[in-house]
Amino acid sequence: MLTFLALASVVLLGIVPEQSQAIVIYTGWERHALVGSDIRLSCSFFSWRWTSEDVTFSWTYRPDGSRDSISIFHYTGGAAYVDNKGPFRDRLEFVGNPSRRDGSILIKNLEFSDNGTFTCDAKNPPDIVGRPSSVRLLVFEKVPIQAGVITGAIIGVVLGLLVLIVVIYYLMRFLVARRVFSLSVSKHGKKKKEGSQQRQGPVPPADPSKVKAAASEKKKQESRKDKK
């Protein structure tokens, strides 16, 4: 078994470097952002090989309603080259980490004219065969709220609270019935009763501790009677 594994690894390692394999590039699908804010457009790739020194990333931008794309960013040989003439002059920054297969860019101070499709292409020589991936950027003045989200949230919260109250009520009743603890409300009721009973007597006791003491004395007397 071990020899087989060793053989297989040798075969795999022997064969793989000779032929280039496909590379898969990932970006998001669609990003929403507020006008004036910054957005990070991420791009990463997957290939079977270690990231080489010659890894390259390139971003192109196609505005909405336009047919042509322009190149806005290129990373090669360890250096990043950003657009310094086009629409993203001074607003583009490379924030990725090529050695960790991250070719993200940051676009600052978004404008409405930035609506469009951003395409990321990455090469990890000798893996160069791959389909570029695109992310669509939509810039809003105010991020739209989907219909029904708030409605659902309010209804859910109120009904949830209702259910919670019912559950707590039954839990309390269960616990009180099992005498895990007694409610202070019922204690007060008893005290009041005792008070009213003793108020019929000549001297109403003001101190509740006295009432308790009297009650305990009564109990003692009762127990004595029982013993007798």
Partner: protein, 157 residues
């Protein structure tokens, strides 16, 4: 006693029907050519009748939620009333039923108030309030009165 029972059930059902109608029917605001409610905006433009989903602002969603909640609470209250009618001891009050009904009335009140205050944001100036809106306002006192009667009412044999 039976008459009173019948009366209060009728009152409750009337409030519930008003709530349903005002929530569903699309005449919260009207103008000559268009009506709109909590869910859709409809208009007759050049011969065709055309409906769009309502705007998705925060406040209209709050009104939607409050109307639905008031319907739910009113239904629960009716259900609880029948439960309590058979389980309550003699002389007990319908506190639970009344609480739910009063809560329903408070919900519809806050919904209608929010609609009154905030609707200029999404309704054109020329529109005026339609009958669904008025029904919602009528449902509020009906629900409140029936809720108060539930609280006051004592059960008799």
């Amino acid at each position: 006693m039976l008459l009173l029972l019948l009366g209060i059930i009728l009152l409750h059902v009337a409030a519930l029907v008003l709530l349903f109608v005002s929530t569903i029917v699309s005449v919260w605001t009207t103008s000559e050519t268009s009506t709109s409610d909590l869910w859709i905006n409809c208009s007759t433009a050049n011969g065709g009748y055309h409906c769009d989903p309502a705007s998705t602002g925060e406040w209209i969603q709050a009104v939607q939620a409050l109307m639905i909640l008031s319907i739910i609470f009113s239904c629960l209250s009716l259900f609880l009333f029948f439960c309590q009618l058979f389980t309550l001891q003699k002389g007990g009050r319908f506190f639970l039923t009344g609480t739910f009904q009063i809560l329903a009335s408070l919900f519809v009140m806050s919904g209608a108030i929010i609609y009154t205050v905030m609707s200029p944001d999404w309704v054109p100036e020329t529109d005026y309030f339609g009958y669904s809106y008025i029904l919602a306002w009528v449902a509020f006192p009906l629900a409140l009165i029936s809720g108060l009667i539930y609280v006051i009412l004592r059960k008799r044999e």
